[in-house]
Symmetry: C2
Subunit: 208 residues, 2 copies
Amino acid sequence: MKREVDYSLYLCTDRDLMTSATVEESVELAIRGGATVVQLREKVCSSREFYQLALRVKAITQRHGVPLIINDRADIALAAEADGVHVGQSDLPCPVVRAMVGPDKIVGVSAATVEEAVQAEQQGADYIGVGAMYATGTKTDARIVTPQVLDQIRQQVKLPIVVIGGINKNTIPHFKNRGIQGVAVVSAIVAQPDVEQAARELLQLWKG
Amino acid sequence: MKREVDYSLYLCTDRDLMTSATVEESVELAIRGGATVVQLREKVCSSREFYQLALRVKAITQRHGVPLIINDRADIALAAEADGVHVGQSDLPCPVVRAMVGPDKIVGVSAATVEEAVQAEQQGADYIGVGAMYATGTKTDARIVTPQVLDQIRQQVKLPIVVIGGINKNTIPHFKNRGIQGVAVVSAIVAQPDVEQAARELLQLWKG
């Protein structure tokens, strides 16, 4: 059966931005600080390396009872028996991924428009990542979602929503009390000198 | 049920080397010339682009009754309902791929040593790609397989073997009458001015 997910503080890994020596260390520290979901994102390494890393990260997330979601690659998610897969608009289509991973895995979809969000809900997504909310250095080609569009998406879909793209301690307050389930964070966690403390502060800000 | 495969002339696509305007055209011409298997290899494009290309190429291979094998990505193979997937030693492990795609898909494994070939057979591969037989511009980091090692692999595994890496009209004669089922070709087909004629000549050389 599909697990219940607390989307409050959704960590996305980024090897190029992280201050930790390894992705595993980055994930371990972020979870200790309070990350409630981990999305593993690798764009350059071989499939074998991605798979082996996913197995090592899964040992950490499983020990802490935090779901592990694999970015883009449904095959890696299946191979490593991760909890789910997250697809963007240039990854495999949501219905294709759902057919591949079955009903019990978490499938997340990125959406930057109301149409994309509504379609993701119709196509069986479990949650929607809405963004980028701000221009960021992490994803320079990202489309920007205005607060108005975010509100429209919130009105038109019932799925949990996490916002992503430029989420940090300064911007988190803008997303409270808007019916959003969580904040997805890359550099405001993994690129910080103290990863654990950074995650802890963000979670407090979000929940406080 | 798994289909019978004629491995005689095994085409590997390469977008960077091809003389055709599109991968689809390159595949169509190579099959008209006599290619008996097509492996679609894409290393740079997005998963969505790879998937959509695989669907378009599958329409061609299916029309000609030629099996389509996807390089590396089991998820793309499943999504596009290709006939199989080919994994190298830095892709997902063969048993993991077999578990994912089921018994009826073709699973090929690259091997450069006797140990790798024997392991692939034990782990449920359907055929083995042995090479690189020569240093090539296509895959500059490839390990070279000597004729002696190729013979040892032939003696120790029962699976069909295709040789790869530097296979062209000059080198094909070296692989005849050695118990090899086919020749896998990249640039000697897709990089030629007349793709169809190049494939035709190679198949005649191999079968003649």
